[in-house]
Amino acid sequence: MTDFSKNTSINENTRRSFLKQLTGAIGATTAYSLLSGNNLAIALAYNDNKELLDRIPLLFSKTQLITLASICQTIIPKTDTLGGADVDCHGFIDHQLFHCHTEEEQQNSLAIVNKIETISLQYFGHSFHKLECEIQTKVLNYLEMTKHFSSIDSNHFKSLKALIVFGYFTSEIGATKALNYQAVPGGYKGSIPYNENAKSWGSLSYY
């Protein structure tokens, strides 16, 4: 189970829901032409300082988002650094799928979140987010082993998991605390010693 930072911005929510509604009503392309590229980008800029329950998600329902948050935290739990949901991976995923992914990828992600919830209820009698951590892990392990889940489910999960990992390690905490971040390396060395307990570089060239 997870706790989330509290910080609400009514304005931001209003704007996002306005845009969501506008998009729903007149189609994304038209909505987009109404608002010049830059303004829209700013208006829709993803911001992680959101209280989960106050957020108006773009793609997931609030209930689905709660499930997704627990999935994020189960895959990347809190250790000496924060976990997936702690850095709002779920909120990021809702945003990212909406803005940068295909409709098919969006549907697949929704489907797998629903399926995880269904299986949790069916086999463990509770919503995924209410399960003990070990059971949550078990459910997701089953998914990867295609036990109780189909291989299609497993493939959808693979993509969602990759997006969660992306969300985590491109967050500030993920990139700079969970990994070793060199903003300005100062030069290049082709050979330095490494041992497996050291963190790898979180500062990457994104091509």
Binding site: Q96, H99, V165, E172, A178, Q182, G187, I192, S203, S205
Partner: protein, 577 residues
């Protein structure tokens, strides 16, 4: 903004006009200004000021709304073609052209990905900085195997100009003494990783005709006094160059040629000025100036000069020429030969192989190398050609340790998986082919009969395809790359070809369409990039190429440009222009 530097309306007749401010235009302007000519640089796009306008620089991924990815809708509306470029992302997108405003058509059944960067600095802001000299095997290739026309120049004509350019821009590299890839005036090379060093040994032992070298790149690994005095600093190895570099550590117009030109007080710049066509005077057989349409408000104006250098990029310069029609030149200015627009080439980057490397678990690297490893062309003369095709290719690549981007696809949930993601993983290596494309008359650009852009300029119509020679070459490159990696003892070796997916254009090394040549009957330019037909008109960008050669072309654009300016000024001083 410097009020005196940037101009809009003027009645002045300049000594020289340079159209374009990219790699070629920056060099033309610098050389002309340094030789004392009052020069006007005309640029269709906006002003991009060094440092100030690098809005994507120095930000972590979390500072971008979509973590460096670009919004679907924005891509759909403005960047459908530009998005195909590997360097296109949320931190760089403002340096790419807006496809919706820059339409062009392609012949049915063909495709061409035209990557544009229409702003002060052009593509010099976005380029990957790989810088190689061409050798006599390149300049002699057309003559040797009969494809295309003979280059009117040889290495000896260009070598001093390569040196001149390299000293100014700063090129890091190692001397290798290779016949097919002449050494330059280098700054210290970037380092190999430990597996790269081992790979070099295995490659050179297994294949005596092949060499592994470090990629030569226009970065200041060790700036000279001169570089420092220009406000440039040492490369910090961020490898985020395409966002712009406030250290001025890689060569761009902004970091290098523009400050040199400005320093002379001979430079003026007319930004937001789309050159529509050249103004030609039939009586004197000279170009007098250019017709310009304002980028923003579409108003028109003219600029005048004694000589004109077209440096508007390969396709940009030829477009201007095709659109400059007169009764003497009904099919485009200086086109008495009729070859203007023909012999378009790119490089073919559509094959390669990758593998995993066992071991080296205690080895890592620090910083992000802006270059990679490079295996120069080993089919560099007819006697060395593969039997199935002519010309050859280089293999460029790199090594690294797998990070979370690869590991994200592995199985695992929870604490151990998190740890796994944060550790440096297995070493991997990849090699990608960079193949030569033959000059073919059929691969061409022309003006569209009816379609115009928002400035009223006829759109380009492009007809360009890979020929069987290019396809066979890529098939071989995939197999050779695979073979090299297998012989090195690597595991999970996989190869690919992608020429069926990627049309020409994506190597962003488009050249040809206003080629040089000795014979005015089948070429546009002489050996000094001067049009055969009109003495005061020069074209010094990639349009002038007779063959694509194998290596990245821009260093050669610079050397040709500097040499052409030197020739032009000499001709002016002797009243032949």
């Amino acid at each position: 903004m410097n009020e005196k530097l940037y101009i809009n309306q003027t009645k002045d007749v300049f000594d020289a006009i340079v159209v374009g401010s990219g790699i070629s235009g920056g060099w033309a302007a610098k050389e002309l200004c340094e030789k004392g000519l009052k020069t006007l640089m005309i640029e269709r796009g906006r002003v991009v000021e060094h440092r100030k306008d690098y809005i994507g620089e120095s930000k972590g991924p979390w500072e971008f709304p979509n973590r460096t990815k670009v919004d679907n809708l924005l891509v759909e509306q403005q960047y459908k073609i530009q998005k195909q470029c590997y360097a296109f992302n949320d931190a760089t997108k403002h340096f790419f052209g807006n496809d919706s405003e820059l339409p062009y058509s392609t012949e049915e059944g063909t495709n061409f990905s035209w990557i544009r960067a229409n702003q002060l600095g052009g593509k010099s802001l976005l380029w990957h900085r790989q810088s190689y000299r061409y050798s006599d095997f390149d300049f002699n290739a057309n003559k040797a195997d009969g494809h295309g026309n003979d280059w009117p120049i040889r290495y000896k004509d260009l070598s001093q100009w390569y040196s001149h350019v390299e000293k100014h821009i700063g090129v890091s590299g190692a001397k290798e003494n290779l016949p097919q890839l002449p050494d330059g005036d280098f700054l210290p090379p970037f380092e190999f990783t430990a597996p790269e060093q081992a790979f070099k040994q295995s490659l050179e032992a297994n294949f005596p005709d092949r060499k592994l070298i470090i990629g030569r790149a226009a970065h200041l690994t060790k700036p000279s006094e001169f570089h420092i005095s220009q406000g440039r600093g040492q490369c910090m190895a961020r490898n985020e160059c395409q966002k712009g570099c406030s250290f001025g550590a890689y060569f761009s117009t902004q970091s290098s040629t523009l400050p040199a030109a400005v320093k002379t007080n001979n430079l003026h710049i007319a930004p937001n000025s789309v050159v529509h066509s050249l103004i030609y005077d039939e009586v004197t057989n000279k170009v007098k100036g250019v017709r310009v349409i304002d980028n923003d408000d579409l108003s028109t104006r003219e600029y005048f000069a004694k000589v004109i250098f077209l440096c508007a990029s390969t396709l940009g310069s030829t477009q201007i020429m095709l659109n400059s029609k007169s009764s003497k030149f009904p099919n485009g200015i200086a086109n008495s030969s009729g070859v203007l627009g023909h012999y378009l080439m790119d490089h073919n980057y559509n094959a390669g192989a990758s593998a995993e490397i066992e071991g080296f678990e205690d080895e890592y690297y620090s910083g992000r190398s802006p270059t990679g490893i490079y295996i120069p062309n080993f089919y560099y003369e007819p006697s060395k050609y593969n039997k199935k095709f002519v010309r050859g290719y280089a293999l460029a690549g790199g090594t690294g340790r797998t990070d979370w981007r690869g590991k994200a696809w592995n199985k695992g949930i929870g604490k151990d998986f998190k740890k796994h993601l944060t550790q440096a993983g297995k070493w991997h290596i990849s090699l990608g082919a960079q193949g030569e494309m033959l000059p073919r008359y059929e691969n061409m650009i022309s003006l569209h009969q009816t379609k115009t852009d928002k400035w009223g300029i006829p759109q380009l119509h492009i007809n360009c395809q890979w020929s069987d020679n290019e396809k066979l070459m890529m098939e071989d490159a995939a197999v050779q790359a695979e073979n090299i990696l297998i012989k090195a003892g690597y595991s999970n070796v996989t190869r690919y070809t992608s020429y069926h997916v990627n049309a020409p254009g994506l190597a962003i090394h488009e050249v040809g369409t206003a080629r040089m040549g000795k014979d005015p009957a089948d070429s546009i330019l002489n050996g000094y990039n001067q049009t055969h037909d009109i003495p005061n008109l020069f074209v010094t960008d990639g349009a002038s190429f007779c063959s694509s050669a194998v290596a990245n072309p821009s260093l050669t654009f610079m050397a040709l440009t500097a040499r052409a300016v030197n020739y032009c000024v000499n001709e002016m001083n002797n009243h032949r222009i």
